[in-house]
């Protein structure tokens, strides 16, 4: 199952959970699943972040899907100059 690693500042919303295996194979399902499992983690909070899939940062991951062995990581979206 894909593995999600939470940013450390999200652990206040995930009861200290640092990483979870998820059933979702697509980004949109992932958002729903994470919010269901950790209600304090709102959809808005999740969707404000970029997603790194196996180390490749994707600012707009809406239509992304991932593999069983994918490592997923949420990262704050950063504006450049």
């Amino acid at each position: 199952m894909p593995k999600v690693i939470f940013p450390s500042n999200w652990q206040q919303y995930t009861n200290g959970t640092k990483e979870v295996a998820v059933a979702a194979g697509k980004y949109q399902d992932l958002v729903v699943e994470l919010h269901q499992r950790f209600p304090a983690l709102t959809r808005e909070m999740i969707e404000k972040h970029a997603l790194a899939i196996n180390g490749v940062m994707i600012l707009t991951p809406l239509l992304e899907s991932f593999e069983q062995d994918s490592e997923l990581l949420f990262v704050a979206r950063i504006a450049g100059g």
């Binding site: 940062m57 600012l59 704050a76 100059g81």
Partner: protein
């Protein structure tokens, strides 16, 4: 994920003259303030004389009595922003932190905030009319210092700002607008393993991007409601998005034409005057021009967060970093807009360390809202981290570059922000810096040397490109990204590379928002990577089309056609069509030749840079002279090396300015006391030596040409390199920037 990265180039990596060069050395190039149109009138913005006040009333009657005054406006002419969010390329915008910068709504939060505007038949008349606008204020207590603003009893700026990032969300509003903490490993255990711990606090003042061209625009509206804007901006589509949201006029009614842009550095990634010109044009029925004065540019656009960074680093006696702990406080001005997230995420990104904690606090004060500046948020914490690293290396009797090599991140390492590094060039850059002749130069009395290393993440995002072929085989490459530093040259080089034709046959053009598909703005070091990526894709599609046309003419299968050096070739070279020949036959082989490409580039990769600075300090005056300066930077692939060097040199000198001279000086009333280039002193030619450069090329494994992006990381290493050099030269430890002569002298005499 990796792709085939091209390594053998014919045109990419050469240094041709830029395609827009002739217009720029002859004065023909048209910048923001250079357009005058038929029937044009002039807008002038009325600004707040107070740092914090309620607007009780605005009376335009006296102004309107002047013959030639044709329109007035205030926030009443703009829709209430409510809680509307505008999708932005990099991050979403909250309308309520943008709209009040265009026109204050009910309250002013900083001195010189826009309150009203007038338009009149001449610029001098508009200025005169602006003086006759009567605004009645109820003055409120203001707060300028971040620590004072963070206190419970501080004058509150906004009653709808609750500290973000705290769980549960506070119920009491606060000037502390955001807090953030990231951790990895066990920070206490890390320090327990350390043999040496150094803790310092470095302060960086508020500064300005300092572009030489003031913001300028012309807006006109036709009888059908179509809005035309001409302006200097880093992103015409950004102007369209924001001006539409702020004015409430449908986005589809806008056409934005970007002029040439006279510098931006992040400061032209938003709007200040365009919505005002649009409303005044709407109300007067005339084209309206607004040009900001230099004073207004300093007072009401741009500035960059000041910061206070406490950093504590632990190392073993053999030089391994065991813990990095940072707290950074940033002044965001009157609205939440500071780069506190990247500041917290990236400060320690150059170093491999298991135990890192980093926290950030954004505070609102009655100062202008800050905005992006080259690698936003990175230079401030990196100053603190790098200076402490230099101090540690010195205490351990280690060479500062060797110390960094021992601790530098490399492929596979995971930084605090979590995304593991792929192939990166930090160690290569460090080695190049160490073997540079400047690093071997012997220092004399009162001279010092400092090293700084830095990281920046770089962006990808949305870009598009169109390529059209004329009947004689010349190529037009159209993109939607304003050329802020030579990007036309790099677009043309990449197209030349794919098409196999000389760059001189390619004309790259930056077009308006009606003439190309959406592109995110020129910023985030993304243009060469993402817009260049779209150009490569479009050129590749064009080559396929050209092969198809040749195949049709020869009655061969397309698989039998090769594209070699700008020619379709078949039958072992027996059959040849040049691009020009195929272009001449386009009408009979399927019609005009063109190709379009667009993408959302997910292939950005980080850049690293290392700077070495040698200075001499005059012990009698405190003046600092830069003796030698060396920049080493990983470009991935330098498409046009001269313009890559230019980014490195320009970033270095901006950082030198920030380290030595530049700072915003507010008086107790919250007015900026140095709102001009005489007193806000950016580096001039006589302040500097030549800036030596070494380009490192560790290809980005995700980009077809290995490009990373070069614009931003260059501003990060100079501050620590300069500050360390000055402190070493003078035998002092000043951590409060800028290191201006009086401050250096006071420390020497202490």
């Amino acid at each position: 994920m990796t792709i085939n990265v091209k390594t053998d180039f014919k045109y990419v990596g050469t240094r041709p003259i830029r395609p827009d060069g002739l217009d720029k050395v002859t004065g023909r190039a048209m910048y923001g303030a250079d357009l005058n149109v038929q029937g044009m009138i002039y807008g002038h913005i009325v600004r707040s004389p107070y740092a914090h006040a309620k607007i009780k009333s605005i009376d335009f009657s006296e102004a309107l009595k002047l013959p030639g005054v044709l329109a007035t406006m205030s926030a009443d002419d703009l829709p209430d922003p409510g809680d509307i969010k505008i999708p932005g390329g990099e991050v979403d915008f909250e309308l309520k932190v943008f709209s009040p910068i265009i026109m204050a709504r009910g309250k002013v939060f900083f001195h010189a905030q826009a309150v009203a505007a007038v338009a009149a038949t001449s610029a001098s008349l508009a200025a005169e009319a602006a003086k006759l606008v009567k605004v009645e204020y109820e003055i409120l207590p203001h707060v300028l210092d971040v620590h004072a603003a963070a206190r419970e009893d501080a004058p509150l700026l906004h009653d709808d700002v609750f500290t973000q990032g705290v769980d549960p969300v506070p119920t009491k509003p606060s000037n502390v607008s955001a807090q953030l903490e990231l951790k990895m490993g066990d920070i206490d255990a890390g320090f327990a393993k350390a043999d040496l711990v150094i803790e310092r606090t470095y302060c960086v003042p508020m500064c300005h991007q300092g572009y030489i061209e003031p913001h300028a625009c012309v807006a006109q509206i036709d009888e059908s409601g179509k809005v035309d804007i001409w302006c200097c901006t880093q992103g015409a589509f950004m102007v369209r998005t924001l001006t539409s949201a702020i004015t409430g006029i449908d986005v589809g009614k806008f056409k934005v034409t970007p002029s040439e842009i006279g510098g931006g550095f992040g400061g032209k990634t938003t709007v200040y005057i365009e919505p005002v010109a649009v409303i005044l044009a709407q109300k007067s029925g005339r084209p309206v021009k607004i040009v900001m004065s230099r004073e207004d540019v300093f007072r009401a656009s741009g500035p960059v967060s000041s910061s206070e960074t406490r950093v504590k680093i632990g190392v073993t006696k053999d030089g391994k970093i065991t813990a990095i702990d940072t707290d950074i406080v940033m002044d965001s001005g009157a609205f939440s807009s500071s780069p506190i997230f990247p500041a917290v995420m990236f400060g320690s990104a150059c170093y491999r360390c298991d135990n890192i904690r980093s926290s950030g606090t954004e505070v609102l004060t009655n100062k202008p809202k800050v905005y992006a500046y080259r690698a936003p948020g990175a230079p401030q914490p990196m100053l603190a981290v790098e200076c402490v690293i230099n101090e540690i290396a010195q205490k351990l009797n280690m060479d500062p570059i060797d110390f960094r090599l021992l601790n530098a991140v490399d492929e596979g390492d995971v930084p605090l922000f979590g995304v593991p590094f792929q192939a990166i060039g930090l160690k290569t850059a460090l080695r190049e810096a160490k073997k540079h002749p400047n690093y071997q130069a012997v220092l004399k009395e009162n001279q010092g040397r400092g090293v700084g290393a830095a990281f920046w993440i770089n962006a990808g995002m949305q870009s598009s490109a169109t390529i059209n072929v004329s009947e004689d085989g010349r190529i037009n490459v159209l993109t939607g990204n304003p050329d802020i530093g030579g990007s036309r040259a790099s677009m043309a080089l990449m197209a030349a590379e794919v098409l196999g034709v000389p760059m001189e046959t390619i004309r790259p053009t930056v077009v308006d928002t009606d003439s190309i598909a959406y592109s995110d703005l020129t910023g985030g070091s993304r243009t060469t990577l993402a817009t260049g990526g779209a150009v490569i894709k479009a050129a590749e599609a064009l080559v396929e089309e050209l092969k198809k046309r040749a195949a049709a003419l020869w009655a061969l299968d397309i698989k039998e056609i090769e594209w070699v050096d700008g020619k379709a070739v078949a039958a072992n070279g027996e059959k040849v069509f040049t691009l020009a020949e195929l272009a001449a036959k386009a009408g009979v082989t399927g019609g005009p030749l063109c190709a379009v490409a667009s993408h959302n580039a997910h292939n950005a990769a980080p850049s690293f840079a290392v700077n070495v600075c040698d200075v001499e300090v005059d012990r009698e005056t405190g003046k600092v002279d830069i003796l030698r300066y060396t920049c080493v930077q990983d470009a991935g692939k330098a498409i046009h090396p001269a313009y890559v060097e230019g980014q490195m040199q320009g970033g270095a000198v901006q950082g030198i300015g920030w380290a030595l001279n530049e700072e915003y000086l507010f008086n107790e009333r919250g007015e900026l006391d140095n709102a001009g280039f005489l007193d806000y002193r950016i580096p001039v030619a006589s302040d500097l030596p030549m800036i030596d450069t070494v380009i490192v090329e560790v290809p980005n494994p995700l980009h077809p040409y290995g490009v990373r992006g070069v614009g931003e990381v260059s501003i990060c290493p100079p501050m620590p390199a300069v500050v360390t050099a000055v402190n070493q030269a003078a035998g002092i430890l000043v951590c409060d920037l800028p290191l201006s002569p009086p401050k250096v002298l006071a420390a020497i005499d202490a």
